[in-house]
Symmetry: C2
Subunit: 164 residues, 2 copies
């Protein structure tokens, strides 16, 4: 078990690309979500896959259990689950002694770009890079499970679309 603690921000511009790695394509879907847990299948670069169970408790800190599974199982499970599939490319960007992850969504969530950073405890100091905008850690619309059900392109709030 890992205890996942992270903060999430909208990305305001493309300056992060200068320090980013080549990125990994992630294709993921939620098999189930209850009031207690969310169960996710993720395929990385089409060549490896992981089954993840996260506690559904909102906010910064969540329990997380991850198990590698065969990619062919992952494809079948995504099909079986019958839910929406999220497509994004995840880049790693070092900043301020931490590794930030920038998720560039495609498909139904095209034009959404968010940055996440994992921290050691909820009180840890984070120095946001100059290319991030508004923090959305506690905004449930940006939970991946929410984006699968209600993708970004269906949102109407122009403040949100400005991303800052």
């Amino acid at each position: 078990m890992q205890h996942e603690i992270e903060r999430k921000f909208l990305v305001a511009n493309d300056a992060w690309r200068a320090g980013a790695d080549a990125g990994h394509r992630l294709r993921q879907a939620y098999l189930a979500e209850t009031g207690q847990v969310a169960i996710r299948v993720r395929v990385v670069d089409g060549s490896s896959a992981v089954l993840t169970i996260k506690s559904a408790a909102p906010g910064v800190s969540r329990e997380e259990y991850e198990y590698p599974i065969p990619p062919s199982d992952a494809d079948a499970l995504i099909e079986l689950g019958g839910g929406s599939v999220l497509d994004k490319t995840r880049f790693r960007v070092p900043h301020g002694g931490r590794t930030w992850e920038v998720d560039v969504y495609s498909g139904e969530n095209e034009s959404l770009v968010v940055a996440e950073v994992e921290i050691e405890d909820a009180a840890a100091r984070v120095e946001p890079p100059p290319w991030v905008g508004r923090e959305v850690t506690d905004d449930p619309r940006y939970y991946a499970a929410s984006l699968a059900k209600r993708p970004y392109r269906l949102w109407s709030d122009p403040d949100v679309r400005r991303g800052a």
Copy 2:
């Protein structure tokens, strides 16, 4: 992936015990159930554990994906899921060239005993042992997921309780 095809019967008497192995204690709970999938955590004899994802399609044949997980994860996941826990001891009993599994429930499902046999295809011939009674393959009340939510001791139908 396995394709699980099985038939399930009520057990009418104790004659099966003569041919049974020592049995294994199973403790299991459902993390989630949707219209598409059921996700189960099972601890075997307190010393090993498995995460199973089954297609929710009713009837004899179901897709099934199984992944071993650390028992300590299993305990935490059962706790996290917040659902009911099923306790049973499973015995293997050879009969007619097949291995039958007899599940003796305890806890909330005390006094329920069912026998299952896995078959190669839905049309395969099964010779029911003399110690089984009525077939309940298609009765959703006997699905393990149902027993977790509505245990046997809460049932009121006396025909069912007679087990034959």
